[in-house]
Symmetry: C2
Subunit: 137 residues, 2 copies
Amino acid sequence: METDTAEQRLESRRIQPTAMRLRVLNYLSERKAAVSLADLEQHFSNSDRTTLYRTLKTFQEHGVVHQIYDESGSTKYGLCAENCTCSYPDDMHAHFYCTSCENTFCFQNLSIPNINLPDAFQPSYGNFVITGRCPDC
Amino acid sequence: METDTAEQRLESRRIQPTAMRLRVLNYLSERKAAVSLADLEQHFSNSDRTTLYRTLKTFQEHGVVHQIYDESGSTKYGLCAENCTCSYPDDMHAHFYCTSCENTFCFQNLSIPNINLPDAFQPSYGNFVITGRCPDC
DNA sequence: TAATCTTTGCAATACGGTTGCACGAGGTAA
DNA sequence: TTACCTCGTGCAACCGTATTGCAAAGATTA
């Protein structure tokens, strides 16, 4: 069952699976695109903005979602792969931001190439967003 | 002369080389790291926030600077190469954001690899920021 | 049940980004 | 020179996202 999977997922990341968190997590997995706080606000209109904000923050701190910085001005959150560590250069993939529909998509299978950084730069995270127009627009 | 070069640069991009713009452009070329609006505000403390904002915007619209979206929450602006077109996959390079000193560096010579996007995605711009710790921190 | 910890909701605030409007400098035509 | 006109700059106000403090509600444990 979907709910059950979501519950396990949160527990494996040491997050109390409250009703709110499960609903947010399920919403994240249903959506094809990454979500912003505003998206959540709109979808869960009877819940409070702060709660949703902190839910995302908790998810991010525990590696359930990763943050994406695109041109939209608001941070997007994408669901991580099952056993993602959210670290560069492993577990990092490319994203696409469509300027028309303003959706940001995760390409989980397009991993970020390992750039040859100058010496002494110690990478930990990567944000790769290609901007343009998606097939639907 | 430096000023002269800056002047030519603006003119070649069809921007009136006002005193303010020249000063901002020179500041951009002096700095090793990309700048935010707040940086400019601090450096040109007797100039108005709006003027600096519009200066950056003008520069960006005319291909003098490119925008970088990192974890800092504020957009950074990096000086473009001489005849940059600011388009993906050409003329796009990697950046490094240091979480300690909060500087964002351009790696002009580390161009973004051409990712094999799924069909029908039409790319136009790319934002690639690796986060971590820089040599000085 | 009482004590405690966590989650949620409400209110207020900080801050980056953005716009409208007015002033002023510089250039152009009568 | 005067009368425009354009464009850059400055001031003030505003919007939206992100964030924090505090109190109420809910869950957990002794």
